[in-house]
Amino acid sequence: MPTRSTAGPLSLVASLLIIAPALHAQSLADRAVEQNHVTIGGYGEIQYANASGPATPGRVDLTRFVIYLANAFTDKLSVRSEVEIEDAKIENGSPAGEVSVEQLFLDYRLSDAFTLRTGLLLAPVGIINETHEPTTFNGVARPDFDHDVIPTTWRELGIGAAGALPGVAGVAYRVYLMNGLRSEGFSADEGIREGRQEGQDASFANPSLTGRLEWARPGLKIGGSFWYGGSADQNPAIGTGTFAAPVTVLAADARYDRGGLSLRGVVANVTVGDASLINGAFGGQVAHRISGGYAEAAYDVLRLVVPASSQRLDAFARYENYDTHAGVPAGVVRSDSLARRITTLGLTYRPVGGVVFKGDYQLRRNRAGIGESNVVRLGVGYQF
């Protein structure tokens, strides 16, 4: 066919001419994605709090400024890091302020079921420890439970695996071997918190195992976490074994979202073995059991007024109930003021996903009725 023999090459050339710019544009777009190996992100929060009572002026603090840096070397191999400045600055002689690496880990993604992970890792315990950006939780500051019971941000050096549990739909796992806690830092009012080593010349005398299983479907996530490991750090007064003064953390959490409704709750139980030996060695009043939890409900009230809005205004209530002296060893007098009940009522306004304005009112109570207060708090946070 003569028409074909002439039109063929011509139409092909024409096609290429027409198609070329479009393809070029696409390859540029693809290259932009491909070269986006380095990612810069960050989050930050400023908090104002004014407690009731005389001589308690309001305080405002640049609580956190965090820079996130990540690089994907290949599809499988990447590194992620967060550097944090707390309380705006560090100055000689001032106890406030801290600069720290909050996480730094390498991921080697071998399959969906198995990512090898190593570095300064977040203990996969509870909700807030791994997901702690201010845009992700209600309330100006993180729940007190996530300070005194689960010591967020809990990070240690270690190695482990993460992925989707093979053969079980909707279940993910994480399991890490990490350096242990040091019981020298344990206290009556903050439990195991100051036993964290946070990646600084950490003692590996008590390698510890931590992990989490997480079942998820749209709108619902249920998780269970554990930590187990010694904390004696070869102190002869406590024990030189790998698992001397063992700390066991068991935690369960759930999150549910439907329409404008968000619910979440966490419970945790911490046992500290050989607590009396720890107290004997360091003179503290450390409990052998720390436990509690919180439940929170929020509703996006903006959708009642402006149903089409992509903004959110969540009204929330949270009730925390925990005791860092839930069980005490012989020689320690149980302190009722450590059995805390904190009710937080507030609003969380999200004009876009990465920005949050917060306000809340807290009723801080304890079983002893000592040092109770009400606190008004305001905050702003962002994440990108």
């Binding site: 544009a25 693809d30 491909e34 791994e130 992925g163 996903g353």
Partner: protein, 158 residues
Amino acid sequence: MLLLAGAAIAAPLRAQEAPPKKVTAAIERLFGKATRVDTIAVDGRRVLRIARGDSLLGFAQVRNVIGRDQPITFLVAIDPANRLKDVDVLVYREPYGGEVAYDTWRKQFRGKGADAPLEIGKDIRSISGATISSRSVTLGVRQALSELTAWRQQGKLK
């Protein structure tokens, strides 16, 4: 009309592309075995046309959206009536948020047309802890569906 054979525009495999066998497996899962898959270019984008014998089964496209910081490579497939058959997450590269690959989450998209809002909080539910990825993939699917539907209506895909 710009319909070219796949070979003519075959580009080198890029970092954010899915391994061909993953694409093949996804097509086979969605459309069954013994299908004929042609790669065609529409407005400079590659679309897979899936047929068995003379009957058209649908179209599929491999795309990327940025999640928290890495591209998420996913496949979107439509049937001849321009309804979403399924979404398949082919390569996920981030440490958290991998739940978007779960069937329970992806099945929310099935049967949707370009008239659906395809928006988190409206017709698609998010997954806690995977909020950013849920949002990104939903946006990517919405863009893909609207593009594929437009091409179908313009007669560029048939």
